[in-house]
Amino acid sequence: MFPTPSKRHILGGQSIKSSMNAIFAGVFAAATVLFLFLDPDGFLPAMLSGGEKAALLCLDLLAVYCVWLGFFKVLEKSGLAEKISRLFSPLAKKLFRTDDSEAIYCAGSNLSANMLGLPGAPTPLGIKATRRFLDTGNERAADLLFVLNATSLQLLPTTVIALRIAEGSAAPMDVFLPTLLSTLVSTLAGVLLLSLVHAVRRKG
């Protein structure tokens, strides 16, 4: 049921659009010039520490994917995945404007895992849904899923509450309501702004 990543995605290095290339070049040049004047010896260690972070992050991701992709395959083979996707489909069809049941299942489960704050679970689902959307040329849906993910949907800010308890807060849950409300603001603003951009682009 899950789409395997197609060749196009894996070999897409030269095809990343110029915006990312421009950002990379600009920030890289500015940071390197600063290093040149302030701390030339710190340049290579900084880059190496970035590479090390990438290597460690990939190991972490691999561990997380092992657990969740195994779990999702069992979910899929049991037929539960299909039931879940049917549950989501009326809303997801409207939201993402697609009839693709695999994409709907991935995107819907991504969003609910996000809200529950299941550690690591949303990422592989989100990647699969995004690739599926892009493969079928549904760029709007890929953007929308990204914006929903990137404006935080989590209902219970577990990390924050744990940190507040650790720092001896008398009322760790005190921030629950303001966080929920501001998350609501950012998610709504993101969706509205995105629809606006797409509407303008369609007209222009």
């Binding site: 196009r8 897409g12 990204f146 993910n149 404006t151 990390t159 924050v160 921030v175 951009v197």
Partner: protein, 169 residues
């Protein structure tokens, strides 16, 4: 918080039992799923490496501190305390970095102070936008600027509102 620690084991138990009843070969199915993990990580790795090296240069070169310095008057104008400006700028780039910063702020100013509450809400209502974009759009033929800018703007608005909500709630 108790229910949350029960949720995961119950979820796995429920799904695996259901699958066993449906005569799914659990061991084979699980292993088949795991098989997809390595290609996925391989396809992400080059882009994550480039992004993380860049963000490390951004941080260690002092560029990030410079930008924070430029922006903090604008932040104060919008009602965001300058004490949390660095956290707001760090969040889109690094989850672990901003977690460390939040813990530092809570320690310095007190978890229940206005600054502490404000920082907690700002952290909780935004996401690591650049990290998510690197992972989700890694190696795809996709314009990433639009969704990234939209998310950054929306999260920033969320932070402004978080500071307001913390004051009145």
């Amino acid at each position: 918080m108790k229910w949350l620690s029960l949720l995961l084991p119950l979820l796995f138990l429920g799904v695996f039992l259901y699958a066993a009843v449906k005569k799914v070969k659990l061991y084979d199915a699980f292993a088949e799923g795991v098989k997809e993990a390595l290609p996925l990580v391989f396809s992400l790795f080059p882009y994550l490496a480039a992004m993380l090296i860049l963000s490390e240069l951004f941080e260690k070169s002092g560029l990030s501190a410079l930008v924070t310095g430029w922006l903090s008057p604008a932040f104060s104008f919008l009602g965001i305390p300058p004490e949390i400006a660095k956290l707001v700028l760090m969040k889109p780039f690094s989850g672990s970095g901003s977690t460390a910063l939040l813990s530092e702020i809570l320690h310095t100013y007190g978890a229940d102070s206005y600054i502490g509450r404000c920082a907690s809400c700002a952290y909780g209502s935004s996401e690591t936008v650049f990290y998510i974009s690197a992972v989700y759009f890694a190696g795809t033929k996709k314009r990433v600027l639009t969704p990234v800018l939209v998310s950054l703007a929306a999260n920033f608005l969320g932070v402004i509102f978080a500071c307001i909500f913390c004051r009145i709630l």
